[in-house]
């Protein structure tokens, strides 16, 4: 029954299924208990837990994390070693911070577009802007939606 495509999936992945993986499932909790006296004033507020994924990730399948190497975006609050949340499903518009492909490498820059052309601008005066052109093979890889900076 097996055809070669299935065999190719190999023993390490013995099946691939469309399961929705949640890192956290928020369940309403009841903390008021049974009380003969006054009800707890907190009771009305306990029906939800907060999940950071919900805040940072809009389209899970299109969201990737990347780590920053260098300080070219320091004035945008992006430090060396920070983690960026990148949404590939978003259409990049002018002034978005984007991940771009430049000379075959992934790089983070601010996209600035006017009527004529687009530029990739660093948020650090030590780094020059780069004109987007067919010649340098520059293309937008994804839009940065958040930065995770851990102390």
């Amino acid at each position: 029954m097996l055809d070669d495509k299935r065999l190719r999936t190999d023993a390490t992945i013995s099946g691939v299924y469309g399961v929705d993986r949640k890192t956290w499932i928020s369940l309403p909790i009841f903390v008021g208990g049974v009380s003969a006296g006054f009800p707890s004033p907190a009771e009305d507020y306990t029906d939800q837990k907060l999940d950071l994924n919900e805040l940072l990730i809009k389209n899970q399948a299109a969201t990737f994390f990347v780590r920053v190497d260098g300080d070219s975006m320091i004035n945008a609050g992006i430090h060396h070693d920070d983690i960026l949340v990148v949404d590939r499903s978003r259409q990049a518009v002018s002034s978005d911070i984007v991940i771009a492909v430049l000379d075959g490498e992934l790089t983070v820059k601010r996209l600035v577009r006017d009527a004529h052309c687009g530029r990739l601008v660093a948020e650090n005066p030590d780094y020059p802007s780069i004109e987007i052109s067919k010649e340098n093979g520059c293309e937008i890889w994804g839009v940065v939606t958040s930065v995770v900076h851990q102390f």
Binding site: T12, R21, A61, G104
Partner: protein, 428 residues
């Protein structure tokens, strides 16, 4: 309302995964090797053009690949599995009827509507997957799954179609089928092809025009089904919910043959740990545990042994120590000294959802006690990478572990291996 099937197939999937975080590899020849760096299992179009065949042993081609500047990768299933899952979720977001057929293929049942052309719909699927996940796909459409599969190969082969081909609206379907060799038809394997060739059937068109009864006597029911499907009568339906998986397997070939029971115990413990974390990840528990062990089939000069044992556990479980204990007992019973083993593995069957387990009054206490431990173990290994914490029985030196010399980082599944985005320096 009539329907068509679309087959979405990721182009050279493993290679595309490797290229996603290394854009400099675009346009360059790339190959991916099987477990243990044994043979070539994926090739970029550039590598195909160099005449590198599917399944060729790596050691035979090593010098040639080096000389041609081909980039070589060991397989990175953590990455491929994650990206596959993303591709499939995008498809499921766009269409309600999706069957995940393999790691890189999905069938979609599309109702034919007048307000959209099917080609537009397919182009939209392709564009969305490309944009959201960065994996290029081809889409073929036909009235049956078998025809959709043929359409996909046409879409891939001729660049003019932009990766989308609709066999249903093709003016001369028969001319297309005449170009497809019969062994490329879904479900027709090597042995069937020989039988068909003897009957004068060489192409998909020949098979379509064959007498169904005659084909049935030659190939049985699957053969008749292929004929019907080629004629546009759908016999293979969409399997949307493989409700629960039937089994989980973890097995490998060893880098070099091993003979000692202790080394085998380490390997088997490690496979059980990997598979048990998969069980827990999907909220499943296993009722049966199989252990298998074999020497190399290809070494006719050495004594051969191959065997397997199965144990039905007192209660379905996903608890690593319980499973390891049972697995090692089976392995010890199976083991025969003096043979150079080259492969061992384990399989879980009788899978059920952990919440629906039959409770056994006398056994369950251990599992319940271990539950927080298992959760902590999975969390730590998810964060720091597989094997950060492991059971002592799986060994520390790992004589038997896989050879993966050219593996790329687990870009999307380990916090410590994320892709780096740099500070671009202007060159020149």
């Amino acid at each position: 309302m009539s329907v068509v099937f679309a087959l979405v197939d990721c182009n050279n999937f493993y290679v595309s995964c490797e290229r996603l975080f290394k854009p400099d590899l675009r346009g360059r020849p790339v190959v991916v090797l099987s477990n243990n760096d044994g043979c070539i299992i994926a090739r970029s179009n550039e590598a195909k053009k160099l005449g590198i065949g599917m399944g060729e042993p790596f050691f035979k081609k090593k010098a040639f690949l080096q000389q041609q500047g081909v980039q070589v990768f060991s397989s990175n299933y953590a990455l491929y599995g994650d990206l596959s899952h993303r591709v499939m979720s995008i498809l499921q977001q766009l269409e309600p009827e999706v069957e995940i057929y393999s790691i890189d293929e999905a069938f979609i049942r599309l109702p034919v509507q007048h307000d959209r052309t099917m080609t537009e719909c397919a182009l939209n699927l392709k564009e969305r997957v490309g944009r959201c996940v960065g994996i290029p796909v081809s889409v073929g459409m036909g009235r049956t799954k078998t025809l959709a599969k043929i359409a996909t190969s046409v879409a891939k082969e001729y660049p003019g179609y932009q990766g989308v081909f609709d066999l249903e609206r093709c003016p001369d379907q028969e001319a297309v089928l005449a170009t497809v060799k019969v062994n490329k038809v879904w479900g027709i394997g090597g042995r069937s092809t020989k039988k068909l060739n003897r009957q004068g059937v060489f192409t998909a068109l020949d098979l379509k025009n064959s007498d169904g009864r005659r084909i049935r006597t030659v190939l049985g029911l699957p053969g008749l089904r292929a004929v019907m499907e080629l004629r546009g009568e759908s016999c293979i339906h969409l399997e949307q919910c493989p409700s629960a998986r039937k089994s989980i397997v973890s097995s490998r070939s060893f880098r070099k043959p091993i003979t000692s029971l202790q080394d085998l115990k380490e390997a088997v413990s490690s496979y059980i740990s990997i598979a048990a974390s998969k069980l827990r990840d999907q909220g499943l528990a296993a009722a049966n545990l199989h252990v298998f062990l074999s020497t190399s089939r290809f070494r006719t000069d050495i004594p051969q042994f191959s065997g397997s044992r199965m144990i039905t556990l007192p209660q379905a479980t996903s608890c690593t120590p319980t499973l390891i204990k049972a697995g090692l007992r089976e392995l010890t019973a199976l083991y025969k000294p003096g043979y150079p083993y080259n492969k061992a593995g384990i399989m879980f069957t009788g899978l059920s959802h952990a919440t629906m387990q039959q409770q056994n009054l006398f056994i369950s206490a251990g599992d319940i006690r271990n539950k927080p431990l298992m959760e902590a173990l999975d969390r730590i290994n998810d964060y720091w990478g597989r094997d950060t914490l492991r059971y002592g029985s799986s060994g520390l030196a790992r004589e038997w572990s896989m050879k993966q010399v050219w593996k790329s980082p687990a870009y999307t599944t380990s916090w410590t291996e994320l892709p780096m985005v740099g500070t671009h320096q202007v060159k020149g």
